[in-house]
Amino acid sequence: MEFQFDLNTIWFMLIGVLLTGYAILDGFDLGVGALHLFVKDDLERRIMINSIGPVWDGNEVWLVTGGGALFAAFPHVYATVFSGFYIALILLLFGLIFRAIAIEFRSKQPMKWWRQMWDVAFSVSSILIALLMGVALGNIITGIPIDAEKEFAGNFFTLISPYTLLVGITTVALFMMHGSIYVVMKTEGELQKKIRSWVNNNIIFFVICYVTTTMYTLIYYPHMVQHFKDAPWLFIIAVLNMLAIANIPREIFHGRDFRAFLSSCASIVALLALFAVGLFPNIVLSNPNPEYSLTIYNAASSQKTLNIMLIVAIIGIPFVLAYTVSIYWIFRGKVKIDTMSY
């Protein structure tokens, strides 16, 4: 496949950027959710939730905008995947609803059963969301049955396989690692000490999952590495990925929590870059009929619309970055609970 830097490629990359932004940002707050029940004390749980309090909603906007951009730029992908993954998508939606509501409602009442109920809802939904995202990603790698009319030709169980579940669990592990580093950064005292001691376990859990997934992919889904064979310099991404992961325990050991967090972000970027390079120029692989795959060309909107949307993105992105940076700057530092907190 000849590489052409055209509008379709730019939109493939822009949607990749949006989803990577989502994975980095919502990734840590999903991770905080996954770790939530391991913290037992009520006040500590409140600190966990409030560490993501001002930002989780904005983080989720990356997903919402990613979905909107997918709809606009590659409507066939949006239509095929969302209708084909119907049950999985509905479960994901309920995860997102319950998570939002759990964060909002948990600390509004003092009753123990009330808080326990929302704590479980928050944690389970966070894990479910991460798992389903990973399973979806896994299905994109393995390919899904698509017919000549660009319609999904499987069912819910087509989507569940050992490999897709493995990618799901790897995603959960990745976000737990990412989230634990974030919590270390945002807390102090006893709670911080406790979470700090979990970081290494989370890294080990993630690395085991990651290595297994990588081997599985290389053996059974070698189409994902074709571009790396054709253009060996792309292997730099894999090296950077490894270095970023290896750097995390080092920074944690030296107590440089922010740099550990940046390393974790870098490893997510590299991971998704590996995925995107492997996939390009397909967006959804058709398996067993590769000729029906949805690509950045046959699934795209018109050139005119891609062009208009690019102008929209060029105007919008500086604002988005400015908001994001300001919010994280305003709410920098350790979490403090006050009357307006969750």
């Binding site: 909603d57 969302f82 509905i90 909107s301 709410f331 609970i337 907190s341």
Partner: protein, 457 residues
Amino acid sequence: MDVEILSRIQFAFTIAFHYIYPPLSIGLGVLLVIMEGMYLKTGNKLYEQMTKFWVKIFALTFAMGVASGIVMEFEFGTNWATYSRFVGDVFGSALAAEGIFAFFLESGFLAVLVFGWNKVSPKMHFFSTIMVSFGSMLSAVWIVVANSWQQTPAGYHIVGEGINARAEITDFWEMVFNPSSMERLSHVLSGAWLAGAFLVLSVSAYYLLRNKHIEFAKSSFKIALGLALFASLFQLFTGHKSAVGISKTQPAKLAAFEAHSDSSGVGDLYLFGWVNDQQQEVKLGFKIPGMLSYLVHGDSKKPLTGLNAFKPEDRPPVNIVFQSYHIMVAIGFGLIALSLIGIYMLWRGKLFEKRWLLWIFVFSVLGPQIANQLGWISAEVGRQPWIVYNLLRTSEALSKVVTANQVWFSLILFTLVYFLLFILFIYLLNEKIKHGPEGAENIPSEYEHQKAALERN
């Protein structure tokens, strides 16, 4: 039931549930800007107390809006995939613009609005309040533009044939400023301002009746009453503009509003009535002859396009459109009357003594909510059988691979979960209202105890 009817029910149910909250956020947002602006200008602590209290209510409605809103964005793809393929080039653009221009703005500044009281200067906080309010209206802009394009498509051409046909943009600005978008946007926004204003009026009237937080309630009431008067009158104006626009762009819908069937006859205006959907005639109605023609053409003798100008399969169901439209209009006039009486009594200095009037205000919160829902029912059911007017039928817009069982599964889940959410929403809203604003008379809350405990550690 088949996939089509189930998907229709599910979409109607989820969008109706969602639409309880964004109008409240938009309306409250405007009031927050006024309240906090007054605080910055006068330095009066009362306005700060007001802002902080209504911010908490705002945050609750906003969270509900976000949680139920994500569903909407996904549901186009899950249940209406054929529609998504057909309109993605056009509709998707507006949706993506909403995300990039409005959602990021709202969510970013919302964090400062709710959590940033001690983190930023008062001016920066006020700026954030303005931005959140602006952002919430901006998201209304894009979603109403997208929906209006479905009502009155413009700036597009159709490419491909049969199942591969789809609409593609030819002129972005023509698509954005399609014939109905500005009229409908102003109508939607003033409906949202009414929703926010009457929520504040209702809660304030309740406090006054219960003799609680008197100063707080009086101030809140006055500010909200101002917005209510403006928005209810503006609503009449935008509603009239919309109806005149519809007479040109979607004559079948206007004909359904008034059950006007004969194209050679003048349009009558019904005050009320009941439409027999088989014969499409009004029974038991009371009409002003020729009034509809007068409102549309300025001439009560001029004939108006009726339902019989359309093939039976191209007509919307008439009675439901007729009823929802008429009740909406009636509520709209009711809200104008209530606002005028309130202003008159305020001017006479007797408003806060009239307990009967305060009780009406307590229940008035339902008015804009019901009218907003009915307005959308008139607009959307009135567009049927089309999902994109004259281009794509709703029955042809479904996802081809989704089965009835799957939609049953999601519909039952949505029903259960939304029922639970609604109860929780009302419960927490009630708790917040009972708790009232934080002030000198309030004992330190449980949160402050915890904060103190945290600081001791």
